[in-house]
């Protein structure tokens, strides 16, 4: 499992795992993109846009939520789903990344916000990084 959806009455909850923190970020982005448009990234054959993103936060949990929020904002403004990512800098409190996006016409699901509620990046008993992310939809 790299991510799975878990039941939540009003919103969408995603449980994500990764062998490394960087992989957790990549898998969280995949999970978010799949909410926005199911299967879109599996079929992408070209990138139409490229953006640079830089996010700093005081903890790895806040960094993940803030990173996803900034990608979501760019997704909405650029009308591009960013299926490709290359981290040029990655630490627990700061990331710099190149995002590669593909234009889309409309979403399956509109994500209003990515919440800190129940988000907690930690290692599970298998040694993987994991967290739950609740999306306001």
């Amino acid at each position: 499992m790299i991510y799975e959806y878990v039941p939540h009455t009003a919103d969408l909850a995603l449980k994500v795992e990764g062998y490394t923190l960087k992989e957790l970020f990549v898998n969280s982005l995949k999970g978010m993109n799949n909410i926005l448009k199911s299967g879109f990234c599996d079929e992408v054959k070209r990138f139409d846009s490229q953006m640079t993103i830089e996010v700093s936060s005081e903890s790895k949990t806040e960094l993940l939520i803030n990173f996803l929020s900034d990608v979501l904002a760019l997704t909405n403004i650029q009308k591009s789903i960013f299926c490709g990512i290359y981290f040029s800098y990655f630490s627990e409190t700061r990331v710099v990344a190149q995002l590669f996006g593909t234009w889309f016409c409309c979403f399956d699901e509109d994500i209003k916000g990515i919440t800190y509620h129940e988000a907690h990046v930690s290692r599970n008993k298998n040694g993987k990084f994991e967290t739950c992310i609740i999306f306001d939809v």
Binding site: Y5, P7, H8, T9, A10, D11, L12, L36, E58, E62, N66, S69, A73, N76, I77, K79, F104, C105, C106, F107, D108, E109, D110, K112, G113, I114, T115, Y116, H117, E118, A119, I134, D136, V137
Partner: protein
């Protein structure tokens, strides 16, 4: 943290329950629930009451943290929550307003009856779908310049008057006359403004919709007359908010507050409750940005009304008559209001997240003909059921800081609804009952199926019997347009 069970809840009166302050030592006030016993039994099933207890820990919270009968679990605040904090140094919490700032409802009244339009429902549904942009990621017909978006954020629905989308008279029929004067576009990020540039006049997706309905039953003739409602009359309801601009304002300021809380030594059980003192720099900046987003939402619903009128005129021509605005009310917002607490009038910051203001008779912001009745409260039900028009009451000031419910309240998750509902079949079943659905996808229909929601009749009966609002009319859907 242990889960709230019925043993922890005391009955204060019919339809009114309390979790005492002693339930958890970090509670600053009790937590109160407006519900029938049956609804309370359902509410206990999810975690909304634990979330309410968390709200009761907010710095400066006054009297009680409250939930309405349509409450359900959210993140941070439960949906259907009301919290009033001390002005000016109590907390302001963006989570107590939600990501969709000034999500709200408006109702337009027509001069036609359901018999007048029964043969044109399908044409009307298709024309509305064509004229009112819906769905995710879709822009509208208006593209604002950066100067224009600042004007919209500053002036709200007034912008529509200046640009021919509304009449001056119409503004009286909007909560706060469609403009919060504390708005300051300089507190709204460029990212948020960019998200809003092409979103005026769009409904978005999820539970947002345009619905054509007819008045099915009148409960209070005097109030209905004042609101311009009569049996079989066709009305149009709009449910949407501040779109991506409001979502970004919330995201930006929650992020600021999560960090800033440490400077004010605020510790909370959930980061999504992040808050700062209202009169702090961060608090003032958020409030000014929230007011700007609220203004954007009122402008959005006004432009959608203009699009609806265009569709109406296309279908009915000169036989269609006018569509008049009955009222427009917010249900995700914070307002500085005066309320009586412990016998003394106090200024408080009232957070309503999935709760509607329901001020009673004598409220002088209302149009003259509504003042003896009270403020109209519009409660949408689910896609295939019914909705209600209520009137606010003076009793609501005492019980709920002048608030009541905002809808039916979600019962099933979107995924659960999709598993249980066959959308093409549902669409056909609704069609057989005379309800036309136009939606961007079957997925959207399944997620918003009636089975996904609580019974709106029980919710409305609770607010009616408890006295926080009174029933005026029931309306039934004829056409639903959604993203």
């Amino acid at each position: 943290m242990h889960k709230v069970t019925k043993e922890h809840i005391n009955k204060l009166a019919d339809y009114f329950w309390e979790i005492p302050k002693s339930f958890r030592e970090d509670m600053r006030v009790p937590a109160q629930i407006l519900a029938s016993e049956k609804i309370l039994d359902d509410i206990i099933e999810d975690r909304s009451l634990n979330q309410l207890v968390n709200v009761a820990t907010l710095p400066g919270i006054r009297k009680a943290a409250l939930v309405m009968p349509d409450v359900h679990e959210g993140y941070g605040f439960p949906i259907g929550g009301v919290a009033a904090t001390m002005h000016p140094d109590g907390a302001i919490s963006p989570g107590g307003i939600g990501y969709d700032i000034n999500c709200g409802v408006r109702l337009l009244t027509s001069q036609l009856t359901k018999d007048d339009i029964k043969d044109q429902l399908e044409a009307l549904s298709k024309e509305l779908y064509a004229q009112v942009p819906s769905g995710m990621g879709k822009g509208g017909q208006i593209r604002l310049s950066s100067e224009q978006i600042d004007e919209v954020l500053r002036t709200g629905a007034e912008w529509c008057v200046e640009h021919g989308y509304a009449s001056q008279e119409e503004l009286k029929y909007i909560e706060s006359h469609g403009k919060l004067k504390w708005a300051d576009p300089s507190c709204v990020s460029q990212m948020a403004k960019n998200r809003g540039l092409d979103q005026l006049g769009t409904i978005g997706s999820g539970n947002h919709f345009v619905e054509v309905a007819s008045v099915d039953e009148i409960y209070d003739r005097e109030a209905a007359n004042a609101f311009g409602l009569c049996e079989n009359q066709v009305v149009v309801m709009v449910h949407t908010g501040s779109r991506g601009l409001g979502h970004q304002v919330a995201t930006d300021h929650i992020r600021v507050m999560v960090s800033a809380m440490r400077n004010y030594d605020i510790r909370l059980p959930d980061r999504e409750l992040a808050c700062v003192p209202f009169n702090s720099e961060e608090g003032k900046n958020y409030f000014k940005a929230m007011c700007s987003a609220a203004n954007f939402a009122w402008c959005n619903r006004q432009i959608i009304s203009w699009e609806i009128r265009n569709a109406w005129n296309t279908v009915f021509g000169e036989n269609g008559g006018q569509l008049d605005l009955m009222y427009d009310v917010a249900h995700n917002i914070a307002k500085v209001e005066k309320h009586v607490i412990d016998g003394k009038e106090e200024k408080v910051i009232v957070h309503r997240k999935g709760a509607t203001r329901s001020f009673g008779s004598g409220f002088d912001e209302l149009p003259d003909e509504y003042i003896p009745i009270g403020q109209p409260v519009i409660i949408p039900g689910s896609m295939g059921t019914c909705s209600y028009v209520l009137a606010g009451t003076i009793k609501s000031y005492d019980l709920t800081f002048g608030s009541c419910c905002h809808g039916a309240g979600r019962r099933l998750s979107r995924r659960a609804a999709k598993k249980q509902v066959n959308a093409p079949v549902l669409k056909e079943q609704l069609r057989e009952r005379g309800i036309y659905i136009e939606a961007g996808s079957f997925r959207g229909i399944a997620e918003e199926a009636p089975i996904a929601y609580k019974d709106v009749n029980s919710v409305v009966e609770t607010v009616n019997c408890s006295g926080v609002a009174k029933k005026v009319a029931k309306i039934k859907p004829l056409v639903v347009v959604k993203g």
